[in-house]
Amino acid sequence: MAEIKEYNRERPGGQPANDWPAYASTVKRHPTRPPVALKQTLTEITGPTFADGWTGPEMLDLTKQHKGEPIGERMILAGRVLDEDGKPVPNTLVEIWQANSAGRYIHPNDTHPAPLDPNFTGRGHVVSNDKGEYRFLSLIPGAYPWRNTYNAWRSKHVHFSVFGPAFATRIITQMYFPGDPLLEFDPIYNSVPDEAARQRLIAAYDPNLSEAEWALGYRWDIVLRGRHATPAGI
């Protein structure tokens, strides 16, 4: 007999729907039937754990992965992985990837005419510490054009992949920058219905995190689903 301490379901309006024609790639890819509501079982409340370091050496400094220094504005990107109740989520894998400061990804399918930087890959990962904290040194990514509509540009963003304690808590998302004028026109950012939930995706400039003569500090917390207080299914 299994006692199941469930994770909270996602809040209405707090998550994007896949049927979102403003983002053209969704048109042929979104399911047409609503998902089947599944009562969480041991399968959903468990998931990969990372405390023992099996994911290998961390990649924290994206500015020192090559011979020389990449060009762009240095950025310290730090924050915590938390649950809805504000409790830290320790020992969970945080992976990031991003464009270089010219807005170009090292990916072979990104062929738009902005320069690659031989000194920048744009990949990092770390396992959150016992306070749920992560910290990377990187560059502020550039905005880049995409073909969603004529003359469309993506807001500056860093992609994040985060697991949390269970398969139910896994998310892949994007972090945006405060004051970016492109946000207003970005159908991916605007796919999140709830204004406060959209704001959650924007990092804060933090002068206390910035380091003098060195790097700008941006702080961004990732909030994963929390857990019901009482177990179910006994």
């Binding site: 979104h30 047409t32 041991l42 990837w97 992949s161 995706l201």
Partner: protein, 197 residues
């Protein structure tokens, strides 16, 4: 939602088309630790297609499963069953240009469901891709398993055609291991059942 929840959870956003270099972990497609895991080795493979039947060359498939004894490598699994030091239960694969993903893993054992129910052997799947603003969850079951009939999740789906979208079919052997085929259809004819939990 618990009454004292204070913070708004982070919303998901698409992985976009350029994730490969960022999430690249080719060794994670083999969950058996080079064949050392206990249990029946299997190959799990399939094609991911869109509403036009076109393959997705840019999808991330992740799986989570119990070991051959039906035990999850996780502190919340309190069952008195053996863990397998060569089996973690998590895998990641990208689809190739033809939309195909492949994992080497073991056939999971049955795990408890809610109440007194026993769940048939199954593998949880998360799918992310360009064009998906939120990842999709589904489950892989295995054709011919006696427990399928009484599995609480499978049997909650009345339409046999829909149920079938969750059942992998045997497709012979490859390198001595049984191959199980599990195609994922995002939209339209044969659309896979996805779950919300």
């Amino acid at each position: 939602m618990s009454a004292d929840a204070k913070l708004i959870p982070s919303a998901t956003q698409t992985a976009g088309p350029f994730f490969h270099f960022g999430l690249l972990r080719p060794e994670w497609a083999d969950l058996t630790h080079g064949g050392k895991a206990q249990g029946e080795k299997i190959s799990l493979e399939g094609r991911v297609t869109d509403g036009d039947g076109a393959p997705l060359p840019d999808a991330i498939v992740e799986i989570w499963q119990a070991n051959a004894a039906g035990k999850y490598e996780h502190p919340d699994d309190a069952q008195d069953k053996p863990v397998d030091k060569n089996f973690r239960g998590f895998g990641r694969a990208f689809t190739d240009k033809d939309g195909i993903f492949r994992f080497t893993t073991v056939k999971p054992g049955p795990v408890p469901g809610r109440g007194n129910a026993l769940q048939a052997p199954h593998i949880a799947v998360s799918l992310a891709a360009r064009g998906l603003l939120h990842h999709l969850f589904t489950r892989v079951y295995f054709a011919g398993e006696a427990l399928n009939k009484s599995d609480p999740v499978l049997s909650s789906i009345d339409d046999p055609a829909l149920q079938k979208t969750l059942i992998a079919e045997p497709k012979g052997k490859s390198n001595g291991s049984a191959v199980w085929r599990f195609d994922i259809v995002l939209q339209g004819k044969g659309e896979t059942v996805f779950f919300d939990f």
